[in-house]
């Protein structure tokens, strides 16, 4: 290091890097969207926002969104709190496996969830046909309905409620419960009069998270709603864009604004309740409070396993069965079982390999780039004044908090014309999806790294500084080795989320640039359910493997980095 490059200039350099990244990746798309949606307001009823607000379809889709998300939230609340209370508070056995299985639906891409449930029910279900329970031909698919959408949204977002509630339950000091018991409260009284009131804010925050996540979900309402002509806001935008192309961009921006505002209101609500839930509790936390189930243990265990069988095992079994039959509607037997679909997917279908390659490149590239950015970003963020740090974090969080459709529209707006100065067109290339992924997943990679840095004793670095190490040297020889597991976990989480991503890429893909998520969606839309199932089975295997490898890493990570390990 040259003497002229002093500490001050190092930090300035890092600071400008942060500003640039945040402005380019996090704020620019949202601001561009806002400008487009509010453009031409002076034209009165001809302005895009006015037109959108006057259209009946907008309000219908909005009501559909609120209805399905609200119902989904209730289902998530019931499932999530059941599992959180039983697994965290009681002495039930096999907790680690129950948690893993319950968390799996959150990590399985929504279009795969939708597909597997479609394979489970309806007259063409290979599973029902194989066991001779299929309804007669021509009977309707029960999932092509608002309630079907809500059910799957609920199952997919139940882990969010589970996590929020489990976090408050684990931080509940043991003494509060013991004090109640020695005062004479029975287990049910302790639960109803102490635990529930103290953790209710966590429950509400979890419910808000489930609602926001359902609101932005695209895969489930697309696979279940579009065939029934039931549109929610994200699918309405998708359908308009698919029919009319970039001509309706301004109106779509206005629609996106609507759903964005709704989602951000949900986020604000959730933040508010999360803050309220911090009572500043003293005492020993982190230890589970064993309520003895006694003679009810077999019954409770059976109930939980039963729920898991219905929400996870049965649909996945249907998916596997569907991928092994020669064609939809053929029952599975020893004669009909075939691996043709897998041969087709892996061997012949050029589009499949292309999609796999695209998704791997996008996810791997995004994970690597974000890992590289996250360390200096988190390091410098730590040293910002608290207010500024909060603001920056909110800006970084924005593209992830907004529904994927909103980000996709914003990215189209931003890059539909060739970039000025360098004159490179990103629209219609993989590059556009890549940039969108960087914006969306930056916070996913940054959070574990920040958490790890916050836990790091500052004296470790101060000792190195006194020993004569400059900022870069400290960063690479002291900080990096200590937070490497978190950095790696962040990258792995980004990869896991990006490789299955559908919502953003559904609007941004173009011929030759399909992603894995788009491929499953297109195969199913084109009637190739068997092939779609085969791809989905492979995807689920990949997800489970990635989750297991993260679990193995978990003991070396700060608490909360691996979402399914409290």
């Amino acid at each position: 290091m040259t003497p002229s490059l002093n500490v001050g200039s190092q930090h300035r350099w890092l600071l400008s890097l942060i500003t640039l990244t945040v402005v380019l990746l996090s704020l620019a798309p949202s601001l561009r969207l806002l400008a487009e949606a509010l453009s031409d307001l002076g034209q009165g009823s001809e302005s895009p926002l006015w037109k959108v607000l006057n259209a009946a379809s907008t309000w219908r889709a909005l009501w559909h969104s609120v209805y399905t998300s609200g119902l989904g939230m209730l289902i998530a609340l019931v499932l999530g709190s059941l599992f959180a209370f039983v697994i965290t508070l009681t002495d039930i056995r096999g907790k680690a496996w129950l948690v893993f299985c319950f968390m799996l639906p959150m990590m399985i891409p929504p279009q795969v969830t939708a597909l597997s449930w479609l394979q489970l029910f309806g007259p063409a279900s290979p599973l029902l046909k194989s066991i001779g329970m299929a309804p007669p031909l021509g009977s309707p698919q029960p999932l092509y309905s608002a309630e079907g959408i809500a059910l799957l949204l609920g199952i997919q977002s139940a882990p969010l409620v589970f996590l929020a509630l489990r976090t408050s339950l684990i931080s509940l000091p043991r003494e509060l419960i013991e004090a109640a018991r020695i005062s004479g409260a029975r287990q049910t009284q302790v639960w109803g009069q102490i635990i529930l009131p103290v953790t209710r804010h966590g429950l509400i925050a979890g419910a808000a998270m489930a609602f926001i996540s359902s609101l932005g979900n695209f895969g489930i309402p697309a696979m279940l709603g579009i065939p029934a002509g039931y549109y929610v806001l994200p699918t309405l935008i998708y359908q308009r864009m698919a029919s009319f192309g970039t001509g309706v961009l301004a109106e779509m921006a206005a629609l996106s604004l609507l759903i964005g505002v709704l989602a951000l209101a949900g986020v604000a609500l959730q933040q508010y309740w999360m803050n309220r839930s911090r009572f500043g509790l003293g005492g020993h936390s982190g230890r589970s409070h064993d309520f003895t189930l006694g003679r009810f243990r077999p019954a409770v265990t059976t109930a939980l396993v039963g729920v898991l069988l219905v929400i996870l095992v049965a649909p996945l079994a249907a998916l596997v069965v569907s991928s092994l039959v020669p064609a939809m509607g053929v029952p599975l037997s020893f004669d009909s079982v075939t691996l043709n679909a897998y041969h087709e997917v892996i061997g012949r279908q050029g589009a499949t390999w292309r999609a796999v390659r695209n998704s791997l490149w996008l996810a791997g590239g995004a994970a690597l780039v974000l890992m590289l950015c996250s360390l200096p970003l988190a390091y410098r963020l730590q040293r910002l004044p608290p207010r500024l740090q909060q603001l920056t974090l909110s800006a970084i969080e924005l593209p992830y908090a907004l529904p994927g459709v909103v980000l996709a529209i914003a990215c189209i707006l931003l890059f539909v014309r060739p970039l000025p100065l360098i004159n490179v067109a990103l629209y219609g290339t993989l590059g556009l999806i890549f940039v969108a992924y960087l914006a969306r997943f930056l916070v996913v990679c940054l959070k574990p790294v920040s958490a790890s840095l916050a836990q790091l004793d500052p004296s470790l670095e101060e000792a190195a500084q006194l020993a004569g190490a400059g900022p870069w040297r400290r960063l690479t020889t002291i900080v990096l080795p200590l937070i490497a597991p978190s950095l790696f976990a962040g990258g792995l989480l980004v990869f896991l989320l990006a490789v299955n991503e559908l919502t953003v890429s559904a609007l941004l893909w173009s011929a030759g640039n399909e992603t894995l998520g788009v491929l499953i969606f297109n195969l199913d839309e084109g009637g190739e359910s068997v092939l779609a199932s085969a791809v989905s089975v492979l995807v689920v295997l990949m997800v489970a493997t990635l989750m297991l490898s993260l679990s193995l890493l978990a003991p070396r990570l700060p608490k909360g980095v691996v979402p399914w390990q409290g």
């Binding site: 003494e175 509060l176 004090a179 018991r181 020695i182 409260a185 029975r186 102490i194 009131p197």
Partner: protein, 352 residues
């Protein structure tokens, strides 16, 4: 009024034995302290009394009721005990009055009787004006008094206290010690108090059970513990004092000045390692003469002296190389030789 009988209680966590074969008879209305360094099993013992932990072996009885044994476990809510926790354990979603009244609600006491008893309990800890506050608005000492009022309200058979003063600062501790003693005097409840602070235990308890590595080392009144500690370890744990090796005496014997001085001289002359008896000499039993000693006197060299306000602590070195702690009313020079008289000593069991 209830007496507690702990009979050969053992607690095993995996392959670690936290409490080993512990027996105590606690008389009705007695204030008992479980004292020992951290990790000695005292908190585990308290949690077994409360019913938060099962016993691995042995029995716990309250009067004639069996609370816990290997095959029987009465849950905490049925034991009619109360507990004060180190972290206060006040429920954050209830105000002070609701916290105090919760045990009454569980016993279905309502209406004016409920109001009267809550007000009475709060009055006893001088917290009536705070009844409608939330626990988060109170200071540490006030919170602990709320917890105490919560114990008062139901007339429990036994009150358990788990290091209740550990989170408070030094000045507050003295006044809270006073509150506990006062509470005990008025209610005459059987109290079991866990602490690692010997001065707390000595100041409050009727009897103290000293624990080490899960075992009961000594069970005695504070005075007996100070004057007649059983072993080298107890002597070093309780109070100040020096342990010397002498050639005569047997464990549990009190030595007079002459016997002690003879034993010391014999040990010094013989240099035999075999028959060494450890003896405890408290600093208040040492007379220091600052005049130049003559050849018959036991001498000591002043290594260091510490000013303690009302007196000086002298850290002396005997010719045998042993260290000795003594008090003196005025400052002495370092390296000065002084004449010493040891007025009495207490013979200890050697540690294994």
């Amino acid at each position: 009024m209830a007496g507690l009988a702990i009979q050969q209680v053992t607690k095993q966590f995996g392959d670690h034995r936290a409490v080993n074969d512990l027996s105590l008879e606690i008389a009705p209305g007695e204030f008992v302290a479980l004292l020992g360094p951290s990790g000695c099993g005292k908190t585990t013992m308290l949690r077994m009394l409360a019913g938060f932990e099962n016993v691995t072996g042995g029995e716990i009885r309250l009067n004639d009721t069996l609370l816990a044994s290997r095959h029987h476990h009465l849950p905490p809510e049925q034991r009619n005990m109360a507990m004060v926790f180190q972290s206060y354990a006040l429920w954050p979603h209830m105000n002070v009055a609701d916290n105090v009244g919760y045990p009454l609600k569980l016993r279905r006491i309502q209406g004016s009787e409920y109001q009267r008893r809550v007000a009475h309990a709060l009055a006893q800890v001088a917290l009536e004006p705070y009844a409608q506050r939330s626990p988060q608005e109170l200071s540490g000492g006030q919170r602990q008094r709320v917890a105490l009022a919560r114990c008062l309200v139901t007339d429990p058979a036994v009150v358990l206290l788990d290091e209740p003063l550990a989170n408070l600062d030094r000045n507050l501790r003295a006044s809270m010690e006073h509150s506990f003693v006062d509470f005990h005097r008025r209610t005459r409840a059987t109290m079991v108090y866990v602490t690692h602070d010997q001065s707390e235990a000595m100041a409050m308890a009727d009897r103290i059970a000293v624990m080490r590595d899960g075992e009961l080392v000594q069970w005695a009144t504070p005075e007996a513990l100070y004057r007649q500690p059983r072993s080298e370890w107890v002597a070093s744990f309780i109070g100040q004092g020096s342990q010397l090796a002498i050639a005569n005496g047997a464990p549990g014997q009190r030595l007079t000045e002459s016997a002690l001085m003879q034993g010391l001289a014999a040990a010094h002359n013989s240099r035999a390692q075999a028959a060494r008896q450890p003896v405890l000499v408290r600093p208040e039993h040492i007379r220091v003469d600052a005049q130049a000693p003559n050849e018959h006197d036991l001498t000591g060299r002043v290594e260091r002296l510490t000013f303690r306000g009302e007196r000086y602590e002298l850290h002396l070195r005997l010719p045998s190389g042993e260290a000795l702690l003594a008090y003196h009313h005025c400052a002495l020079e370092e390296d000065q030789q002084v004449a010493l008289r040891l007025l009495e000593g207490w013979c200890l069991e050697p540690d294994q």
